[in-house]
Subunit: 452 residues, 2 copies
Amino acid sequence: MDIRQYIQENEPRFLDELFSLIRIPSISALPEHKDDMLACAERWRQLLLEAGADEAMIMPSEGNPLVYAEKRVSPEAPTVLVYAHYDVMPAEPLELWNSKPFEPEIRDGRIWARGADDDKGQAMIQVKAFEYMVREGLLRHNVKFIFEGEEEIGSPSLNAFLKAHQELLKADVILVSDTSMLGADLPSLTTGLRGLAYWEIEVTGPNRDLHSGHFGGAVANPINTLCEMLAKIVDEDGRIAIPHFYDDVEDVPAAEREMIARIPFDEEKYKKAIGVKALKGEKGYSTLERNSCRPSFDVCGIWGGYTGEGSKTVLPSKAYAKVSSRLVPHQDHEKISRLFVDYIQSIVPEYVEVKVTPMHGGEGYVCPITLPAYQAAEKGFTKAFGQKPLAVRRGGSIPIISDFERILGIKTVLMGFGLESDAIHSPNENFSLDIFRKGIEAVVEFHKAFGA
Amino acid sequence: MDIRQYIQENEPRFLDELFSLIRIPSISALPEHKDDMLACAERWRQLLLEAGADEAMIMPSEGNPLVYAEKRVSPEAPTVLVYAHYDVMPAEPLELWNSKPFEPEIRDGRIWARGADDDKGQAMIQVKAFEYMVREGLLRHNVKFIFEGEEEIGSPSLNAFLKAHQELLKADVILVSDTSMLGADLPSLTTGLRGLAYWEIEVTGPNRDLHSGHFGGAVANPINTLCEMLAKIVDEDGRIAIPHFYDDVEDVPAAEREMIARIPFDEEKYKKAIGVKALKGEKGYSTLERNSCRPSFDVCGIWGGYTGEGSKTVLPSKAYAKVSSRLVPHQDHEKISRLFVDYIQSIVPEYVEVKVTPMHGGEGYVCPITLPAYQAAEKGFTKAFGQKPLAVRRGGSIPIISDFERILGIKTVLMGFGLESDAIHSPNENFSLDIFRKGIEAVVEFHKAFGA
C-alpha cells in the first residue's frame, strides 16, 4: 500500500495511540510524577511492540527508566538507532492554556497538548514510519529504538546508560526527530545545535529577613545585589562579559554566514509573531546568527522576597536565579561552567555570600552534509515536502547528541518536524496534523533511501 | 496598688488576653483572612471594654473595620488618643519559624509569635496601662482608642476614615506604641520616622514564554532586562539615581549628626547580629544615619520564569518586582512616586514594555522634643527604665503619623518598646516579657505626668 494511503486509513489509530501517551503527564522535572514516567515508558513499550519490534523492554537507569526496542532484519545489514524522549516540560503557567495541557484536543488542523510536538508527536512519526516499513516488508536494515525519560532535565542518567550498553546500542547512524524546520513551506534539516550550561545562583545577605525600614539603606539587599551581578554578565554590545568565554568559539565561516543570509527570513513578521517592538542581541550578527551560531545568556527564573499579593516591605535574606547559557560547537560546557562560577565569585561584593551550583550542560554538535544518512534524510524530506530541505544550524540544545558521538562514536541525523509556532516548552504547545503526516512519509522515504 | 505589684498579680491574665489576640491570624495582606480581621477587631472591642472603656465599638471603613473606644473623665480635661493596629504581616517563610507563628509560646523570657511585638504586644501595653489608671482612679484626662486593621498594607482606608470622623477623634495628642528602642538597656523615644513609597514593576518581553534555545541571543529576556533596570536605580556611591530624588531631602543638621554619633553603637556587633561581613550604604553617612535620616531603595520581592525544582530552560514572557523606597521628612511620597515612574519609563529599552504601579506611600514625620506630651513620655521612660531615654530618628515608616498631623492637626508621641532582636516582619518574631512589664509602667507614668 502507498504510504499516503496507509496514513489516511490508519490516522485515527495513530492519534488514539499518541493521545494515550499525551494523557500521561510525564514531567521529568517534578518528582511527584515518578509514577507517570513509568506508565509512559510502559505505554511506549507496548506501542513499539505493536508497531513491529521483535522485542521491547523497559531498562532501568540511575534515574527514570529507558525504553529499548529492536527489529533485526539481518546481521549484515546496517543499523539505524532511533532516539526520542518520552518526558515533557512542566505545563506552567496553566492559566495561559486554551485547553488542558494533558487532555489533547484537535482544533484548526492541529493537536493541542504538552508533548504534542516535543517529543511525543515527533517520536510517533518515527514509530509509525517504522510500522509501515515492517508491515509492507520494505525494511532492508535493522532498526533500534531508545526512548529516554530525562531529556528535559538534561539527561543526567543517559551517559552512564550509554557507557553500560555500548554493544546493545551499536548502530551506523542515530536518527532523532526532536528539532524544528524553518517553516511549514520551508523544510530544513538541522546540521548544528547549540550546547548548554545551566546554573542556580543563591545570594545570601542578612541571616534573616529584615525590616526594610529599620535596616534599609545600611544593609545590602540580596535581590538588589543579585540584579547588579546579573546585569554584569552581558555587556552593552550583547557580548557575554565572562573572561575567556569566547576563547573556543569559532567565528562563523564566511560561507556559512552567506548561506544563513540566503534563508528567507522576515524580521518584521518574526517580531510580530512574538509580540516585541525590537530585537536585541550581539552586535555584528544577524538575528538568525544570534539564535543559532552565537552563544546566549538567559535568566530562566528568578525569585526572592515577598512575591504574594499586596505590598509587604522586606529586606530579604536570600535571592535566587536559574541562569543558562547556550553554547556553540567547540565550547566545552564544563570549562564554561567553571569560567562562569569563577566570574560570579570574582564580582561578588563583600556584603553578600553567593553559591553557584552548576545544574547540567552539554556540548554543541555539527552533522556533515556528506554523511550518507544525511543524504537519505534529504531525499525523504524532498519527497514528502516537494522541495529540497535547507541545511541549517539551530539554536536549541540536545546535549546528548554530542554525547552519542563521544561515547558511542555514532553521528546523528536530526530529522525534526517542529515549527516555531508549535510553542514547545510554552503554554498551548501544538503540532500540525499535516506536518505529522508528511513527517511519517519523510521517514519512510529515509528508510527506503538508506536501505538502498 | 503600686503599678509593679499590679502587673505581677495580673500578668497571667494579661498574657491570656494577648495570646487570644495572637491566635487570630489577622493578616491584612491576604484576602482569605477577612474573617480573622473581624474576629480580631471584635476581640479588641471586648478587651477595651473590660479594661475600663465607657464604650467600645466596631466602626466600618472602606476596608477592614476599626475599633474605637473611649473613657471620658471630663469635657474640660485634655484628651489622649491611642492609636494601634490589629493586623499583622504574613508569616512566610513558615519553615524558618521555631514555633508556630500563631501559637504563642513563652521561651527564654520572651513571647514568640507573629504580632508578639508588632503590634498586638505593644498595643496591649497601652491597654493594660489604661486599665490600671482606670481601676486605681488615677486618670485625670480623657482617653480614646483607635485600632486599625490595615497598617501593614499601608492603611488604604484610614485617611477617608479620619476625614469622616474628625470630631470623634478630636484629641490633644496621639500616643502610639509601634516603634522600637535602641536597646533593652538603652531606652529611646522616636522623634522622626521615614516615609515610604512602594511600586510593583511588570516587564513584558515576548507575548509568551519562548524556548531559550530557539530564541535566546536574538530576543531580549525580560528578567535580564528587569535586573539591568533595577541595577540602575542605586549608583556606585549608594545614592539613588532618580533625577530630582534628593531635591527636597534636607541635609541632616550638624547638631543632629553629632547627637547620632553619640549613640552607643557597635558596628561589629550589628554586623554579627544580622550575619553579614560588610555593610553597604550611601557614601558619606554613618550606618545610623543611613538607616534613619537618609532615603533607601530596596527590592522587596522579585519573580519571573521557572522557579520550581530542577532546571527548566525558558526565555520567559514576563518578570516582576516589588520595590520600595524609604523617604525622609519633607520628601512628598506622591512626587517621589511620579519621579520613580518617570525614571523607569525613561530607561525602558525598546525591546520590552514596562508597567509601574504605585502601591502605597506615606510621608516622614518629626516630633518636637519640646512638646508637653513628649516630655511626659520622657518621664515615663525614665521611671520605668531608670534612665532618661535618648531622642532618636528611626528608619521605619508609619505613614499615617504624618496623616494624623495633616488631617487631624494632632502631633503624635511615639512610645515604642520594640527591640531590633524582636524580628518583626520576620520569622520568629518575639517580645521580651521584661520590656512588656516596663512598657506598661512607662505608659502609666506618662498618663500621670500628662494629667498633672
